[in-house]
């Protein structure tokens, strides 16, 4: 499959273009320059590969969780590119793309969710690759290491010392800190993620409570 993957869920801009075996990638710390840099870097990957957008099979995007604004940059760009070229989109959860890069059989992924919280998910990797349950949002000190798991991944461990504080000696960090568009491509190629019309692209914010309703504001005031 010929795929272009875009991930802007972190401070990195991660892009990958895969053409039946050949992979072109861009993966760099970007701060907040995603809007400025993404399309020019996509243009450069397409030129390196000598392929036109319309010749691709789908546009893959990191659907979250992650920086809210970042997620919408990747999603908006994927929608625009796909819609203009008549292509479908494929959304890949960020934590899945972290787990995909790790080699353990079982894995706990924790990503920094800011506001003193982490996004968590447990994975069965290898031949029976599967996420065990939904991605959750948790306080670092409340995260429990599931039985039998000793491998972890994601920047949550680096950023929150309270995360599994008493068990750090029993766990081994895979070294994978964040999503990488090459992992998105590998997962998209697995066929387990649906191809959708760009109008159906959905983001996975996980943190869904972002404001208080008038009634809740009143209740707080007493």
């Amino acid at each position: 499959m010929k795929l272009l993957a875009i991930d802007t869920s972190s401070s990195y801009l991660s892009l990958a273009l895969s053409l039946d075996g050949e992979m072109y990638a861009f993966h760099e710390e970007m701060g907040q320059k995603h809007a400025e840099r993404t399309l020019p870097e996509i243009d450069s990957l397409l030129q390196q590969a000598g392929i036109k957008l319309a010749a691709l099979d789908a546009i893959v995007f990191g659907q979250g969780p992650g920086s809210f604004t970042g997620l919408r940059i990747a999603c908006g760009l994927a929608q625009g590119l796909a819609f203009s070229a008549g292509l479908p989109v494929i959304g890949i959860p960020t934590l899945d793309a972290v787990a995909q890069q790790s080699e353990a059989d079982q894995l706990l992924v924790c990503l920094d969710a800011r506001m003193q919280q982490v996004y968590c998910a447990v994975y069965q990797t290898g031949a029976h690759w599967q996420r065990q349950g939904p991605i959750t949002l948790q306080d670092p000190q409340a995260v429990v290491l599931p039985e039998g798991i000793s491998q972890v991944a994601g920047d949550g461990f680096e950023n929150y010392p309270a995360l599994l504080a008493g068990q750090r000696e029993q766990i081994r960090h895979s070294g994978v800190l964040r999503a990488d568009a090459r992992a998105h491509i590998a997962l998209a190629q697995s066929g387990r993620y649906p191809m959708q019309h760009p109008r159906e692209a959905e983001l996975l914010y996980v943190r869904n409570k972002v404001a208080l309703t008038s009634i809740e504001q009143q209740a707080l005031k007493g």
């Binding site: 400025e36 243009d43 604004t69 919408r72 908006g76």
Partner: protein, 351 residues
């Protein structure tokens, strides 16, 4: 920025607006005019929160832009291949919300190999009366009056805008909404307050006209809501509670005060510049009493007043497509883009 010379002649402009709580998409044809426009308002979604929640606004925009674009194209039997340029609101507005329109617009244009134009949201409003018939010729005074802005401007051409005066605190529309909230009306209360005012007695209460006689064209509306609060408390102290009719009478007194200030300052701007035409734009431009008062004042003085079509008073994609079409000179190749949540209108270049 790289100017474009290599694209084919531009006829059809797609406009995308996503600066606040309305997603608008439209198609403007340089020969046939506005041929399609679609709008989704998030008003109901934000009502529960008593105001616009920026993050929720952004989350909704990203789900609406593509379906609204499809609906526009379907409305006139066109495809994306017929679009020659894409205009989008680059600012001012909510950062996250602007970024949605900017991202989709740039990616669409990149994929279609057509140019993009970043449009100033207020220029969109300012030029929207040009989408109505009869359309005003330059120069004119523009009264831009909405929930976010209240400004009087001398408009001498596209991009030739001089701010003559503006509100020093709340925008007029904001004063409407805040006062409505204070009177216990559900969000967004402004339009409801206006409807109640229609049934109010204009002679019962009298509220101050802030800065009515100041020697400049600036305005101030935040004091009015305090005046309404004081008045409400007075009435409550006297009568125990505010009955339906009293509430309508208070609404009337409030609306009369705002309308009188806006009319008086607009006339002053016309007099000061010697211009004969007034153009009203922005959400409050839909206010019936304001329209009636301006029309009446203008008729007496042999001045003309122009309004955008009623459907285009709120934020919309049509004004963005149109303003973009007026600024094709500034169209650039899609690629690196940025948004301008704060952006001074008078800094725009002439077109």
């Amino acid at each position: 920025m790289e100017r474009l010379t290599c694209y084919k002649a531009i006829m059809l402009v797609l406009g995308i607006e996503s600066s606040c709580d309305e997603t608008g998409v439209a198609l403007y044809d340089l020969k046939a005019g506005l041929i399609a426009h679609q709008l989704h308002t998030q008003m109901a979604m934000h009502a529960e929160y008593g105001g616009v929640v920026p993050e929720l606004a952004s989350r909704d925009h990203i789900r609406r832009v593509i379906p609204l674009t499809e609906a526009c194209l379907a409305e006139v039997g066109k495809t994306l291949a017929d679009v020659d340029a894409i205009a989008y609101t680059q600012g001012p507005g909510l950062g996250g919300a602007l970024l949605v329109g900017a991202s989709v617009a740039n990616a669409l244009a990149f994929g279609l190999n057509i140019p993009v134009i970043g449009v100033h949201h207020l220029e969109g409003h300012l030029l929207s009366p040009l989408l109505a018939e009869p359309r005003p010729d330059f120069p004119f005074i523009a009264l831009l009056v909405s929930g976010g802005h209240t400004q009087l401007m001398a408009v001498r051409g596209i991009g030739q805008y001089e701010v003559l005066g503006e509100t020093l605190d709340d925008a007029a529309g904001e004063a409407f909404d805040k006062t409505a909230k204070l009177l216990g009306l559900p969000y967004p209360g402004g339009p409801l307050l206006s409807r109640l005012a229609e049934e109010g007695d204009p002679t019962r209460f009298n509220l101050p006209r802030p800065m009515l006689h100041s020697d400049n064209l600036d305005m101030s509306f935040s004091g009015l809501k305090t005046a309404v609060l004081t008045l409400s408390k007075q009435v409550e102290a006297e009568h125990g509670q505010i009955d339906e009719q009293t509430r309508k009478d208070i609404c009337r007194a409030f609306q009369d005060a705002i309308v009188e200030v806006l009319v008086s300052k607009s006339l002053k701007a016309l007099k000061q510049t010697g211009m004969k035409k007034l153009v009203v734009a922005g959400g409050v431009g839909a206010n019936k009493q304001l329209r009636a008062a301006l029309d009446q004042a203008a008729a007496r003085r042999k001045l003309e007043v122009f309004y955008p079509p009623l459907a285009l008073c709120t934020d919309n994609g049509a004004m963005i497509a149109f303003a973009g079409a007026m600024r094709l000179k500034y169209a650039i190749a899609p690629g690196s883009y940025s948004i301008k949540p704060r952006w001074d209108l008078s800094g725009l270049p002439a077109a």
